[in-house]
C-alpha cells in the first residue's frame, strides 16, 4: 500500500505532543477560549503538512529548535524532559528565542496554528456571526438612507470635462 501524503509529511508521536504544547503557548487558554493545543490543533496542522509538503521543513525545523533549546535550557542534558515540562515563562522565553533566530520558520508555525484555531467550529461559535461560515444565511443590513447624502449633493461638480 502506498503511503498517503499525510503519512509522508505530517507529524507523529513525540512531535505531535511537542506541537500541542507549543500551540498552547502560542494561543493559550483564557476565559472561555480554549488553548490551541488542547483543541487538537496539532493534528490539524499535521494534516496541513500532509496536504502542503512545503510546510513540513519549516515547521519541523522550528519544532526541532524549540526542543533542542528546551533540553539545553533545562540542564544541558539532552536526555531530560523537554519543552512540555518547562515552566510556562520558560516556554515563552524559548519561543521568543526561536522567533528571533528562525523568523521565517517560526512565522509559518504561528500562521498554521492560527489557521487551525480559527477554522475550528468551537471557536467560531464562541466568536459569533463574523466567524461562522458566511453562507447560506448571510447578514442583515439596513437599506441605504439617501438623506445621508444631502450635504454632498450640494457640492459643486468636481470632475473636469475633457
Amino acid at each position: 500500500m502506498s503511503r498517503t501524503a499525510h503519512e509522508s509529511h505530517g507529524l507523529a508521536g513525540a512531535q505531535l505532543e511537542l506541537l500541542t504544547a507549543v500551540q498552547d503557548r502560542l494561543i493559550p487558554r483564557h476565559d472561555d477560549m480554549p488553548g490551541a493545543g488542547e483543541l487538537g490543533g496539532a493534528d490539524v496542522v499535521s494534516g496541513y503538512m500532509g496536504e502542503l509538503p512545503e510546510l513540513h521543513s519549516d515547521i519541523a525545523a522550528a519544532l526541532d529548535s524549540i526542543e533542542a533549546k528546551s533540553k539545553t535550557q533545562e540542564s544541558g542534558d539532552a536526555d531530560l524532559p523537554g519543552f512540555g515540562r518547562l515552566e510556562e515563562s520558560r516556554k515563552d522565553e524559548i519561543l521568543r528565542e526561536v522567533e528571533i533566530g528562525m523568523p521565517r520558520e517560526f512565522a509559518v508555525l504561528v500562521t498554521q496554528t492560527y489557521n487551525s484555531y480559527y477554522t475550528n467550529p468551537v471557536i467560531q461559535e464562541i466568536l459569533g456571526p463574523g466567524a461562522l461560515p458566511p453562507q447560506p444565511l448571510g447578514h442583515t443590513m439596513p437599506d441605504f438612507d439617501e438623506s445621508a447624502l444631502d450635504d454632498v449633493k450640494k457640492r459643486a461638480k468636481t470632475w473636469r470635462n475633457a
Binding site: M141, P142, E146, W159
Partner: protein, 538 residues
C-alpha cells in the same frame, strides 16, 4: 497534435471580464465564435463560504495570488523584481471571480492626462466615445448604486439601489462629513435586489474576495458567459494557449493550445481576440514570436509588455472601542471618497488617488495580519488583541494612479515555465517617485479619516505587496504605430486581424478600479468587429 476543421470567425483567448462582452456581441451578430479558456467553470459547491475553513481558503485554493494558489490552471509568475505581485484568477469569469465588484467609471480627464497635466499620454478616444458602452455594460450586468455623484459625469439610474452602509459604513460617513470631503455610494457590480435571469440580491455575507456562490456578484461567469454560450459561442475550458499562429501573409490564423491532459490542439480562426489580462496577453504575444515576427507578435513598436501599470495601494485600518460588526456587508464595494482624485499642484504631485472604504475580514484573517499585515501577537496577549480588533475595525485602501513607464514591464522568464512548459511571465516593476508621494499623502489622509472619529489605534501597510489586482498598459492603444501596439479599436497595428480587448489596452490607468472601463472598451471593439468583419483580412 490534433487539429480541427472548425474555422471560427473569431477566436477569443480568455473567458474573463473582457472576453465575455466580445463573445456575446459577436454571437448576437451571427458570427461563429470559439473561446479558449485555461480554467473551468466554478460551481456553487466549490466556493468555501459554507465551510468552517472558509477563511483559510484566502491562503489556499481561493488566494488572490496565483503563485500561492497554484491550481492546475494557474501559471507561475517571476515576481522577484517587483514590490507588487500581480493577482488574477484563471476560470470562466477570470479575475471577476474574486474581485470586490467596485465598479467606477473613469472620468473625462482620465483620457487626457498629457494635455491636462503634462504627464503620461492621451488616449486616442474620449470619455464621451466610451460613455454609451459604459451605459450598455452597466445595464446588462447589473450595477447597484445611485446616479447624481457630483464628482462624476451624469449617468442613468443604476440597476438596483445602493448597498446598505451598516455601522461600518456609518462611521465613514460621520468622518467624511466632519472633514467636509466627498463621499458617495459606489457603483457596485453586485446587485442589491433580484436581477436578470434569476440572480438573487446580495445577502451581505461579506467575503466577496473569495467569490460569490449566490451569483449576486456581477462576475462575468454569471453575466456575459452564460448568455454567450446560449447564443452558440463554443467555450472550450481547460484549454491553455501556447501561441497564436500566423500565416505566410503574417496574419493571425488561429492558436495552438494544450488540453488538461497535455495534448496539443489547433484552433483555426479568421480573426483572433486576446482577452487574457495585462500580464497574460503580453506573455502570449511574446510567446508567439516567429520568423515573420521575431520579437513577438504585434511588437514592431517594441512596446508589448512595456508600460505595465498597477494601482499601487496600501491600507489603513482604524480600530475602535465600539463593536462595529463591520463583517456585515460586502467587503469592498460600497462607498468611495474622490476628494483627492484630480491634480492639485499644491500637493507636490500630479494626478491623485481614491480612498476606497472597506469593511472587515473575519477572525482568522485578522489574526494573520488583516489588510495591513499586522499579525496579532502570539502568547498571553493574543486573545486580548484579537478581541480588540475583530468586529471593531474598518479599513480603507489608498489606491494610487500609476503612470506609464517603459521600464515597468512583462517579459518572458528564461527558466520558469507553466506545467505545459510554456515560458512564464517575469515582472520588472518599480514604483515612481510621483506614486510614492501620492501614497504618502494618501496615508496621512487615511489616518485623518480614522482619527477624526476616535479610532484608538491606526494600523498601516504603506504598500501592500498583494495589490496587483489591476494589470494595465502592456499593449497600449494609440494612433501611432511607433508608440502604441493597437489602434483605438484594439486592433493591432501590425496584424490587422488581431485584437486586444483587456486591460493591456490602457494608455493611463486613473486611480480607480478598471473593470468597468475594460468592459466598455471590449464592447466598443466588438461593435467595430461586427461592423467591419467582412473587410478584415484573413
Amino acid at each position: 497534435m490534433s487539429g480541427t476543421d472548425d474555422l471560427a470567425d473569431v477566436l477569443i483567448i480568455g473567458a474573463g471580464a473582457s472576453g465575455g462582452p466580445v463573445a456575446l456581441t459577436l454571437a448576437q451578430a451571427g458570427m461563429n465564435v470559439v473561446c479558449l479558456e485555461q480554467g473551468g467553470w466554478l460551481s456553487e459547491d466549490e466556493y468555501p463560504h459554507k465551510r468552517a475553513d472558509w477563511e483559510l481558503q484566502r491562503q489556499r485554493n481561493f488566494s488572490i495570488d496565483p503563485n500561492e494558489r497554484s491550481r492546475d490552471e494557474d501559471y507561475p509568475l517571476n515576481v522577484e523584481n517587483t514590490p507588487i505581485t500581480p493577482l488574477m484568477f484563471n476560470a470562466v469569469g477570470g479575475s471577476t471571480i474574486h474581485w470586490s465588484g467596485h465598479f467606477p467609471r473613469f472620468r473625462p480627464s482620465d483620457f487626457r492626462v498629457k494635455s491636462l497635466d503634462g504627464v503620461g499620454d492621451d488616449w486616442p478616444l474620449t470619455y464621451w466615445d466610451l460613455e454609451p458602452y459604459y451605459e450598455r455594460n452597466d445595464a446588462f450586468i447589473g450595477v447597484s448604486g445611485l446616479a447624481g455623484d457630483p464628482a462624476n459625469p451624469p449617468r442613468s439610474p443604476r440597476s438596483t439601489p445602493p448597498l446598505g452602509l451598516g455601522p461600518g459604513g456609518d462611521i465613514y460617513v460621520r468622518s467624511l462629513e466632519k472633514l467636509g470631503w466627498h463621499w458617495w455610494p459606489s457603483d457596485s457590480a453586485l446587485v442589491s435586489e433580484p436581477f436578470g435571469d434569476g440572480r438573487p440580491a446580495c445577502n451581505n455575507c461579506g467575503p466577496c474576495d473569495i467569490g460569490c456562490p449566490r451569483g449576486s456578484m456581477s462576475s462575468a461567469d454569471v453575466t456575459y458567459w452564460p448568455a454567450a454560450v446560449a447564443r452558440g459561442v463554443r467555450l472550450v475550458t481547460h484549454a491553455r494557449v501556447r501561441e497564436i499562429n500566423v500565416n505566410r501573409a503574417g496574419l493571425a490564423s488561429g492558436a495552438l493550445y494544450f488540453d488538461r491532459d497535455g495534448n496539443i490542439h489547433r484552433q483555426r480562426a479568421r480573426s483572433v481576440v486576446l482577452a487574457s489580462n495585462g500580464v497574460g496577453t503580453p506573455r502570449l504575444l511574446l510567446n508567439s514570436s516567429s520568423g515573420i515576427y521575431p520579437d513577438g507578435l504585434a511588437n514592431s513598436s517594441g512596446l508589448v509588455g512595456r508600460n505595465l501599470m498597477f494601482h499601487p495601494s496600501g491600507f489603513v485600518t482604524g480600530v475602535f472601542n465600539e463593536n462595529l460588526q463591520a463583517f456585515r456587508g460586502p467587503l469592498g464595494a460600497f462607498l468611495h471618497c474622490q476628494e483627492f482624485y484630480e491634480t492639485d499642484s499644491g500637493r507636490g504631485f500630479v494626478r491623485g488617488f481614491q480612498l476606497q472604504l472597506i469593511r472587515e475580514v473575519g477572525p482568522l484573517s485578522t489574526a494573520v495580519g488583516g489588510l495591513t499585515s499586522s499579525v496579532v501577537p502570539w502568547g498571553s496577549r493574543h486573545h486580548k488583541v484579537l478581541r480588540e480588533r475583530f468586529s471593531h475595525s474598518i479599513s480603507l485602501g489608498v489606491m494610487v494612479e500609476d503612470l506609464p513607464e517603459p521600464h515597468n514591464r512583462v517579459t518572458l522568464d528564461t527558466d520558469l515555465t507553466d506545467s505545459d512548459g510554456i515560458p512564464a511571465p517575469k515582472i520588472d516593476y518599480r514604483m515612481s517617485e510621483n506614486s510614492k508621494k501620492i501614497i504618502a499623502f494618501g496615508f496621512d489622509r487615511g489616518r485623518e479619516v480614522f482619527e477624526t472619529v476616535g479610532a484608538h489605534t491606526v494600523l498601516v501597510d504603506e504598500l501592500a505587496r498583494k495589490s496587483g489586482w489591476h494589470l494595465m498598459g502592456t499593449a497600449r492603444m494609440g494612433d501611432d504605430a511607433a508608440t502604441s501596439v493597437v489602434d483605438k479599436w484594439g486592433r493591432s497595428h501590425d496584424v490587422p486581424n488581431l485584437f486586444v480587448v483587456d486591460g493591456s489596452l490602457f494608455v493611463t490607468c486613473a486611480s480607480i478600479n478598471p473593470t468597468s472601463t475594460i468592459q466598455a472598451l471590449a464592447l466598443r471593439a466588438a461593435d467595430w468587429i461586427v461592423e467591419h468583419h467582412q473587410e478584415i483580412p484573413s
